[in-house]
């Protein structure tokens, strides 16, 4: 009997955790299907499947444009970070040389930078490069948080690869570049997927730089667009539209995370605990 009660208690705890984690997003989905006065009553289940908010998000705003911007910026950031990260990780993870510890320390230090601490300098840089209100400016500025993180995680993965493979390749006269491309890259795919995904999510969710370095709605990324959705007056936010837009941008990320959950967990722990 006591066992039964403790079992019951445990499953109640599990249910509470799941409810706590999932309910807010579930409620956003429910809200996104409500329009007009329906919004002003609290309902736990969708009453009707009204797609009106989803249509108006795309019709009233340049939301499709914002999504395209976010996709372009995130993919570009991931590509650049992974390329620079893999080459740097090879040097930091596989080669013993003087100053390596200091370099890793610098990389770790940069990943701790508060974004605001570089805001004015970054603003000057972006304007100096003539990239204000330009997606390329966002790509460059996002590297400050994706690159150190990518280098750090890939280095931890790279140094755990077996030494013998590399030695065999050296015996066959392979150059370091060949070793990276032909020996390590095929083995690194899981690590690349993990870090790429984490960098993608970080870039997709970024807000401060996107808010500060863009001016027109055509250049904005999705988080800024959602934050700036406004209604007729300050006190009349179109909550239905906001929730529909939120669901649209969140679903792909949630899907990615659920598909790759094991990899993401290993990447996060490699970045923090192992580090």
């Amino acid at each position: 009997m006591k066992r039964l009660f403790s079992q019951l208690g445990f499953y109640l705890l599990v249910a509470a955790i799941v409810l706590y984690a999932v309910f807010p997003f579930y409620y956003a989905i429910v809200t996104s299907f409500k329009t007009g006065p329906e919004l002003f009553s609290v309902d736990y289940f969708p009453l009707s499947w009204n797609w009106g908010n989803y249509v108006s998000v795309f019709r009233e705003q340049s939301f499709a444009h914002n999504i395209l911007n976010s996709v372009l910026v995130s993919f570009a950031v991931v590509a650049v970070s992974l390329f620079l990260g893999v080459t740097a990780a090879f040097a930091l993870g596989r080669v013993q040389f003087r100053g390596r510890g200091l370099l890793l320390l610098t990389v770790l230090g940069v990943s701790m930078f508060p974004q605001v601490a570089v805001l004015s300098g970054m603003f000057e840089l972006i304007r100096g490069l003539n990239l204000y209100n330009n997606l390329l400016g966002l790509v460059i500025s996002y590297l400050i948080f994706t690159l150190p993180f990518t280098v750090w995680v890939l280095t931890t993965f790279m140094r755990d690869l077996p030494k013998e493979l590399e030695e065999a390749a050296i015996m066959d006269g392979a150059s370091p570049w060949d070793i990276i491309v032909k020996v390590f890259m095929p083995l690194m795919w899981p690590a690349l997927v993990t870090t790429g995904l984490l960098a993608f999510i970080a870039a997709w969710n970024e807000f401060l730089f996107a808010l500060t370095f863009t001016l027109t709605n055509e250049q904005r990324t999705v988080p800024v667009a959602i934050a700036l959705i406004s209604g007729a007056s300050q006190y009349e936010l179109p909550w239905g539209n906001i929730m529909a837009a939120s669901v649209i941008v969140t679903l792909p990320v949630v899907a990615l995370v659920l598909i790759f959950q094991r990899r993401i967990v290993s990447g996060l722990t490699a970045g923090a605990v192992k580090g």
């Binding site: 799941v18 770790l108 230090g109 940069v110 941008v249 722990t269 580090g275």
Partner: protein, 325 residues
């Protein structure tokens, strides 16, 4: 047979090593050169997007730079930080709003990281037990982490809405409150609301880090404890907690550094309200809204110094392995 084989192999290796040593060092030198070659692009980019902007921000903090014309900045020394004019103190360090922002940030960081650690520990312990549907629960727990901060701020902003929010509806329904609460607008509750959302959003991260540490624990101490008939609660405090403490410390400091620079959640949930303004929000308001780049940079630099100090503590106490081994 096997031992002799190994001996011969190591002998051969020793001999060949001796004869090949000049060639090997040449090889090593070549590899080191290649390593630097591979590092250069990354280092250039890091210097460009991190080093240079940071240096310029610190420089701006000693000038009277204005957003509309950064080139016209003049060196004014420490005036942005602290200056004494006609019997009055001026500068960031003499600004009540700045200290209010510092206090908000510290309060927010300490409370939310504490709550996240406790909740994360509970979730991690649950996920570490084996039960049916565990992978589904783990997937569900990851969802708040995956949701963009802006979206969670908006989602919770709607749930915390003073008139139509579900939280007030539930609390009124069960008789916890008699009138609806203005969660994000009332001075007493706004910071609580921010903490509530942040805890919801980052507990998964904490739980996963703790779970990883739990899964690396040796099982034999638990068997010994079970044989001795020790109560599970005592086992948790005497065995589990001391063993995961190093990993827990690293996770806590990692989160703390993240919490100190909070910007987007506060900016979207409560906008520029004084009751929740963090150091980052204060600095950005000066920089962008008031166009005072010099003054704002001074605030940014102070935030940077705070975080840098914590990073040093993290590296010292977290015993991070830099050598890569």
């Amino acid at each position: 047979m096997a031992t002799t084989g190994v001996e011969t192999a190591s002998q051969v290796a020793r001999e060949t090593g001796k004869t090949l040593s000049p060639r090997k060092s040449q090889l090593t030198r070549g590899r080191v050169r290649a390593a630097w070659l591979f590092l250069t692009p990354m280092l250039i980019v890091v210097a460009m997007v991190a080093g240079w902007p940071l240096a310029r921000t610190i420089w701006f903090s000693f000038t009277d730079a204005n957003l509309s014309d950064l080139g016209a900045a003049q060196f004014i020394g420490l005036e942005n930080y602290l200056t004494y004019v006609d019997g009055e103190w001026y500068g960031v360090l003499a600004d009540g709003e700045w200290w209010n922002a510092v206090w908000n940030t510290l309060k927010f960081s300490v409370i939310s990281v504490t709550l996240e650690t406790v909740l994360g520990l509970i979730v991690a312990l649950v996920l570490n037990a084996s039960f049916r549907g565990r992978s589904l629960v783990r997937a569900a727990v990851l969802i708040p982490w995956a949701i963009p901060t802006i979206v969670s701020a908006k989602m919770w902003g709607w749930m915390l809405h003073d008139q139509f929010g579900i939280l007030n509806h539930i609390m009124l329904g069960i008789g916890l409150i008699s009138t609806p609460l203005a969660w994000t607008a009332s001075p007493d509750l706004a910071l609580t609301a921010v903490i509530l959302v942040d805890v919801w959003k980052t507990t998964p991260f904490m739980a996963l880090l703790i779970l990883a540490a739990l899964q690396m624990l040796p099982t034999d101490c638990y068997e010994a404890a079970r044989v001795d008939g020790i109560h599970p609660v005592k086992v948790f405090f005497k065995v589990t907690l001391p063993l995961i403490k190093p990993a827990l410390m690293v996770a806590v400091i990692f989160r703390l550094l993240d919490a100190l620079r909070i910007f987007d959640l506060i900016y979207v949930l409560t906008s520029n309200s004084k009751d929740t303004m963090s150091m980052s929000v204060y600095a950005r308001q000066q920089l962008v809204d008031f166009q005072a780049v010099g003054y704002g940079s001074a605030a940014s630099t102070l935030l940077f110094l705070t975080v840098a100090l914590c990073t040093v503590l993290y590296i010292t106490f977290g015993r991070v392995r830099f050598d890569g081994r």
